[in-house]
């Protein structure tokens, strides 16, 4: 202790103490760096609890990937569009359970085109049962109050009348998922319950203008599967839509361009926002379906960056012509 009792430090002591202090600071910094978790806490969900949506796709058939049918009557066009892809029997086998995910995002009248058309949903339910489906589920996780959305859009009633089981979102139907190589969908709650034990998944969506995304079509429809504070994804809308196209692998998508919401989307609010295009698209390749669908909104494929992002991620192709689309006019 004699050294410490000296009035003055010599150079050796100073360097010695400075060195020790530096080592202490460096050690503390290193420990902090090693302990820092940049992903934040993962409350209550460990890796084993994460779920992955099943792959609902059917084997590809060359020349029967996308059909585009012109006509004013949705029932007629959807029947023809599915027939051109090989018939409903290609997509639904006897005793299978089918989930249909229409766009029921808003509690608005079907006349406004903000939601899937109830007559179209009912007809697809009927087709699934005709193919021998054991059960058809119609479900969505709307932005507005789910009960009001299914009631006022008319989808709840017509689906029920067609024999479908309508499932509204409840807390116990959500599970967390992480998309492999995903940037945004990481440990995020998704509406999983209705799809857990089904064999097939069919998406039905209208063609709409969308203030944030440019357009809302088949791929954007899967946004409804996201739970939690999903509005945060609006900041990176193109990435989230592309990731949804990787997360969901549907059997078939049906894109309804019979009446297209050209302006003020995605909610619209006036029939004057709509324009008749009398076009219905059915496809097993949703990137291709949306790539054709954007032309109904007078948009180019390059106007919707999420299309090329989804293509790059391997979810489909924007070059729908390469798939030899089958055109038909009724």
């Amino acid at each position: 202790m004699t050294e410490q009792n000296d009035n003055n430090f010599d150079r050796r002591q100073l360097l010695n103490r400075a060195g020790k202090a530096g080592i202490s600071i460096a050690a503390a910094g290193l420990i902090s760096y090693r302990l820092y978790d940049k992903n934040g806490p993962e409350i209550g969900v460990d890796a084993e609890s994460l779920v992955t949506l099943p792959d609902f796709r059917v084997p590809a058939k060359a020349g029967q990937t996308i059909s585009i049918v012109k006509g004013p009557d949705r029932k007629a066009t959807v029947n023809k569009a599915i027939e051109l892809l090989g018939g409903i029997e290609r997509f639904v086998k006897p005793d299978e359970t089918v989930a249909i995910k229409p766009n029921v995002a808003f509690a608005s009248s079907p006349m406004l085109g903000a939601t899937a058309h109830p007559a179209l949903v009912a007809e697809v339910v009927r087709l699934c049962y005709e193919a021998g489906a054991k059960q058809v589920i119609v479900t969505d996780n709307p932005i507005n109050d789910p009960s009001s959305c299914f009631t006022l859009s008319g989808i709840g009633k017509t689906a029920d009348q067609a024999g479908a089981r309508v499932i509204l979102p409840k807390e116990n139907l959500f599970r967390h998922t992480t998309l492999e190589n995903g940037k945004l969908i990481r440990n995020w709650p998704v509406f999983f319950g209705p799809f857990e034990n089904v064999d097939r998944l069919i998406g039905i969506s209208p063609v709409k203008d969308h203030a944030r995304a440019g357009a809302s079509m088949a791929m954007k429809n899967w946004y409804g599967l996201l739970g939690g504070r999903r509005n945060v994804f609006h900041q990176d809308i193109n990435t989230i839509i592309a990731e949804l196209s990787m997360m969901v692998k549907p059997t078939l998508v049906i894109l309804d361009g019979t009446e297209v919401m050209m302006t003020n989307g995605p909610t619209g609010g006036s029939v004057s926002d709509l324009k008749r295009a009398d076009t219905l698209i059915a496809s097993t390749n949703m990137v291709a379906a949306d790539s054709y669908g954007c032309s109904l909104l007078n948009l180019k494929i390059s106007d919707l960056p999420y299309l090329s992002k989804a293509q790059d991620a391997g979810a489909g192709t924007t070059d729908y012509e390469s798939l030899e689309p089958i055109f038909e006019t009724l």
Partner: protein
């Protein structure tokens, strides 16, 4: 241990106590903050699931909307209110338009016809905090070729075959019918009149409308872009309106800036933005424009004109006919220059 000569034990003790107190405060802050952490930052919904029904909208009583119930109609549900934090739950992808325009609160109420359940409509009352904000969201969403309405107390107003849309002071109001129906039309117009008659507003006026030349103007064509007008980030508070000239519709625009220097700088930036996006400068054919150094550009086959005078930046946007566009620009320049000199 003996004391060290030269050391101020009191000072060292005070510093030590101070440091310990700071550490204690930091610890206390962390302890308190952990109860209020925003888990949404980590993509975690604290409910551990999707939105519950209760989460969908904060439902509160709004007597003012209840009181608007027209004869022959019932309330379909309780009034819903939304704020900046949950507006997206009601209008999803359209929320940014409102949020970026000063949105304060939305109140909605559905009414259903007592005799026909298929006849219902929804009243949306957007409190946009300022007259200009309300006019902006009204004008940028305005449907073309609609029927203009007018009733006491309201701002601009129109109807489509299933809806009524208007501003009243700082409020932007939409009434959206479930279908096209005269019964709904009458009920919605009655509510609109009642709302405008009963809701007190500040006497705030938008003065920029009067800055446009009146001749050949298409009534009801005014728009206000609060931000990103014509795709250019620097273009804020831009008023635009359409003119009918030589059987063509031409859009003129203007904005009052804080001072002439800002106006000149904004005009230059917009000119540069157009050039960067492949516009090509061309000489004006109109001598007034030529003499006043007004910029004329070809932009993918359309004519863009841009100039500043006094505190104003103004011009013509995407005109098909260059001669007509230059005539309109010359009139706009003359009027704004006169106003600038008089101020």
């Amino acid at each position: 241990m003996s004391s060290v000569p030269g050391r101020n034990k009191r000072l060292e003790s005070a510093i030590s106590i101070l440091l310990l107190a700071i550490l204690l405060l930091i610890g206390l802050g962390v302890f308190i903050k952990q109860f209020n952490v925003d888990m949404g930052r980590f993509g975690i919904d604290t409910t551990t699931a999707g939105p519950s029904l209760e989460q969908t909208a904060a439902i509160t009583q709004e007597p003012v909307l209840d009181a608007l119930k027209p004869d022959g109609f019932d309330k379909l549900a309780e009034t819903e209110t939304y704020n900046t934090g949950n507006l997206y739950e009601k209008i999803n992808g359209k929320a940014p338009l409102y949020l970026e325009s000063g949105f304060n609160k939305l109140s909605t109420q559905r009414f259903i016809n007592k005799d026909d359940e298929n006849l219902w409509f929804e009243l949306f009352v957007f409190d946009m905090a300022a007259v200009r904000n309300a006019f902006s969201v009204y004008s940028v969403q305005k449907r073309p070729d609609t029927h203009t309405l007018a009733f006491a107390g309201s701002g601009p107003c129109y109807k489509t075959s299933n809806g009524v849309y208007f501003t009243h002071g700082r409020y932007y109001i939409e009434l959206i019918g479930s279908t096209e129906s005269t019964i709904l039309d009458e009920a919605m117009i009655k509510i609109a009149e009642k709302f405008a008659g009963q809701t007190a507003i500040d006497d705030e006026k938008i003065t920029e409308f009067a800055l446009f030349p009146e001749e050949n103007i298409i009534q009801g064509s005014f728009k206000l872009y609060l931000a990103n007008a014509f795709g250019f980030e620097g273009f804020t508070d831009i008023f635009a309106c359409r003119y009918k000239l030589d059987d063509e519709s031409i859009t003129a625009f203007l904005s009052r800036r804080p001072d002439p220097k800002d106006a000149q700088s904004t005009a230059e930036k917009y000119y540069n933005f157009l050039i960067e996006n492949d516009a090509v400068a061309k000489p004006p054919t109109n001598t007034v424009l030529k003499d006043n150094n007004v910029k004329v550009l070809d932009f993918y086959g359309t004519t863009e004109i841009i100039f500043s005078t006094g505190p104003f930046v103004a011009g013509v946007h995407e005109a098909e006919n260059q001669t007509a566009a230059e005539q309109l620009a010359a009139k706009l320049l003359a009027k704004l220059s006169k106003i600038a000199k008089e101020e």
